[in-house]
Amino acid sequence: MSSTVAPHAAAPRPDLPATDGHAVEPRENYLNVDYGWKSWLLSTDHKRIAVMYLITIMFMILVGGSFAILLRLELATPAGDLLQSETYNKIFTMHGVVMVFFFLIPGIPAVLGNFLVPIMIGAKDLAFPKINLLSYYIFLAGITLTLIAVAMGGVDTGWTFYTPYSSTYANSQVALAAIAVFVTGFSSILTGLNFIVTVHKMRAPGMTWFRLPLFIWAQYATSLIIMLGTPVIAITVALVGLERLFHIGIFDPTYGGDPVLFQHMFWFYSHPAVYIMILPAMGVMSELVTAFSKKRVFGYHIMAFSTLAIAVIGFFVWGHHLFVSGQSTYAGVMFSVITMLVAVPSAIKVFNWVSTMYRGDVWLTTPMCFAIAFLGLFTVGGLTGIFLGAMGFDIHVHDTYFVVAHFHYVMVGGMVTAFFGGIHFWWPKMFGRMYPENMGRISAAIIFIGFNLTFFPQFILGYMGMPRRYHFYPEEWQVLNVLSTAGATLLGTGYLLPMIYLPWSLKFGKVASKNPWGAKGLEWQIDSPPTTFNFDKVPIVTEEAYAYPEGSRHQREAEVV
C-alpha cells in the first residue's frame, strides 16, 4: 500500500454493513482474542494499549481530582483551617502536575488517538507498535516517580517549577518531580512520533490528505507540537534538576544565571502544551458535531488549516506569560499581538461547528450534549484568553483567580468535556456495549452546571483581586468561594457518574452494533469491538470525510429514518 495513492474512482466499495443489524454471537475481536495479564501487558495492539492508557489515566484523574477537592474544601472558609500553607502549596502543585502531565496532555492522544488513528486511516496498527508499548511503560515510570515524590513529601513549587525558588530554595522533592516530568515527556514524544509516521505512511488507498477526518488532522498537528516542544521542557527540567543536585548556577542569579531564562524555556514548551491539550479536543468536537448533525463539516479545508495554524502560531506566543517578569515592553507588545492572532483560527473552528449544526439534524445524545457544553465553555475560556493577552488587563489580573478560571474553562471545560464526549461516542466501538443514555445526559448536564458554578465566580474573584495559590482570603470573598466549592462538589459528582456507569455497561449495557450512530468514517464500518488487525482486507476509500447526504433537512430525515 503506497501512501500517495490517487483516488480509486472506479474501485468498488468494500462490503459495507447492510444495516445496523443486531450483533449475533460476538466473533473474535481484540478483547476476546486472548486472555491473561501477559496478553495485555505485553500487547503491541494499539487498541489494547489505548485501553491500558484509559485505565491508567482514569486513575490519575481520580488522584488529581481528590487534590482539587481538598483545595476547594480549604477555600470554603476564609481562614486557613483544613490545610496549612505548606500543605496547601504541595496540594495545588500536585493537582497541577498530575492533571497537566498525566491527564490533560496524554488524555485524548494516548487513549482515543491510539485507538482511532490507525482505524480512521485504514491501517492495521500504528507504524511502530513496540515503541507504542514502550511509550506506555515510560508513562507508567513517570507516574511511579511522581507518586514516589508525593509519598516522600510532595513538591511545593507549583506545576511551573519557577526558578530560583525551585532550584535553590524549595525544601521539597523538586528533583524527583523534575525527573518524573522529564521521563513522561519521552512518552509523549514517542506517541507523537508514532502518529506522524503513521499518518504519513500508513494511509489506506484513496485516503488522501484532504479526506482525513479532522480528528486525524488534530492528532497530526498535536504530534508536531509534541515533537518540537517537549524536548525543550525535557532539557529545561533537566537543568533544574542539575541545578538542584550540583548547583551549577544556570538559573541562579548568584552565579550570573537568569531565572527569567527558565521562564522563557519553560513556556516555550508549556504554552504550546496548552494546544497539545486543546487541539485533540477540537478534533473530537469535529467528529461529534458532524455525526450528530448528520451533516458535512462546514468548511473542511479551513478547519484542517486552522488546526495547523494553531499549532504554528502557538509556538510564538509564550511571552504572554512573562508580561510582569521583566520582559521588554516591545517583546511584550509583539507577544500580545501574536496572542490575539491565535484566537482567529480558534474562533473559525467555533463558528464552523455552529454552522455545521445550523439546519442540521441535531440528535441530542450524550456525546452531543458534551459537544454543546464544550462550545459554550470553550468560547468563554477562549474569549477571556484574549483579555489576558492584552498587556494592560493582564497586569491587573496577573496571578489572580481570573487566570485560574480562564485556563480551567479551556482545559476542563474544553479538553475534559471533549474527552468525555469522545469516550461516550466511541465507547460502543471500543467495548461493543452501549452506555445508559439517560445517565449520560444527566451527567453531562451536571458537569455543565457544576463547572460553571465552580469557575465562573472565580472570574469575579480574580477581577476583584483575589490572588491564586493562597490558602486563606479576606471574609468579603467568602460567598463567591462557597459557591465555587459547592460547584466543585457538583462537578465531582458529574465526573464520578460516568466512571460508575461506563464500567457497569461493560457487562450490562446493550450490545452495540457496528454503527450505532449512523456515522461516517472507517471506524464505523468495522466490528464493535474491532478485530486485532481492524480490517479484514485493506479498505479502499472513495469518498470525502463526513460524506453525509446533502439536501434539505427533511430529505435527509427521510433517508436516515
Binding site: S3, N194, M202, L228, P231, I235, I248, G249, T532
Partner: protein, 222 residues
C-alpha cells in the same frame, strides 16, 4: 502480536518499502526532537554568551584546542566508517558491516577517552562548577556559568555517543547472524543517521566552546 516474517516484514506493513520509509521518517522525526533538545542548551549558551562575553572568552581559553581538534577528526573519521557500514549493509555484506561498525565504536571510545582526559584536567584545575570551583584565584564568577554549560553540553553529547555505541553492539550481533540483505537493512541506516547527527552536534560544539573566544574582543563584537 507484532509478528515479523522471514524477510523482516512486520505484520502491519504492506511491503518492505513502506516499512523502510516509515522507519526513515521516524528516525528523521526523532532527530528533529533531538535538535530541539540540544536547542534548549544552545539557546542558553547564546543568551549567556551575549550577557557575559568576557567570561566566555576566559573560559574558552582554558579549553584544550588540540584535544578538541583531535576529537573532531576522530569523530569525522567515525562518521566515515559508519557510512561505510551502511553501504556494506545495503549490499548485504554482513562481515563488512561488523568490521566497519566495530571500527566506528572504537573511534567513538577514543573520543570518549580523550573527553575523560579533558574532564580530568578541568577537575585538577578546579573548573568543575560547584563549591570547589575556582577561577584565577577568585571563587565563582560568570566563568562558572561557562563551565556549567560546557559540562552539560559536552556531557549530553557524550551520553548520546554512549547510547550510539550500545546500538552498534546490537547491529554487530544482527550482522553476525547475517540478517542484513539489500532489501532489509533499515537498522544500520537508522543508526547511521543517528551517529551522523551526534557528529554534527559536535561540529557545532567545538567552535562554540573551544574556538570562538580565542580571538579576543573582535570576535565578540565589542
Amino acid at each position: 502480536m507484532s509478528s515479523v516474517d522471514a524477510t523482516g516484514l512486520a505484520h502491519h506493513f504492506e511491503d518492505l518499502e513502506q516499512q523502510h520509509e516509515s522507519a526513515t521518517l521516524g528516525m528523521w522525526a526523532f532527530l528533529i526532537t533531538e535538535i530541539m533538545f540540544f536547542g534548549g542548551l544552545f539557546g542558553a549558551y547564546v543568551v549567556y554568551r551575549t550577557m557575559y562575553p568576557e567570561a566566555w572568552e576566559n573560559g574558552s581559553k582554558e579549553l584544550d584546542v588540540f584535544l578538541g581538534a583531535l576529537n573532531t577528526t576522530v569523530l569525522i573519521g567515525s562518521s566515515l566508517t559508519m557510512a561505510l557500514a551502511v553501504r556494506s549493509a545495503q549490499h548485504g555484506k554482513n562481515r563488512q558491516v561488523i568490521g566497519f561498525t566495530f571500527l566506528t565504536m572504537v573511534l567513538g571510545f577514543v573520543f570518549l577517552g580523550v573527553k575523560i582526559v579533558e574532564y580530568h584536567a578541568k577537575w585538577e584545575h578546579h573548573l568543575i562548577p560547584g563549591p570547589h570551583f575556582m577561577f584565577e584565584g577568585h571563587l565563582g564568577g560568570h566563568e562558572e556559568l561557562f563551565f556549567a554549560l560546557y559540562f552539560v553540553m559536552t556531557g549530553t553529547h557524550a551520553f548520546h555517543m554512549i547510547i550510539g555505541a550500545g546500538l552498534m553492539i546490537w547491529v554487530i550481533l544482527k550482522a553476525a547472524r547475517n540478517e542484513y540483505t539489500p532489501q532489509h537493512h533499515s537498522h544500520v541506516e537508522m543508526i547511521g543517521l543517528y551517529w551522523h547527527f551526534v557528529d554534527i552536534v559536535w561540529i557545532f560544539l567545538f567552535p562554540l566552546l573551544y574556538l570562538l573566544g580565542r580571538h579576543g574582543h573582535a570576535s565578540i563584537g565589542h
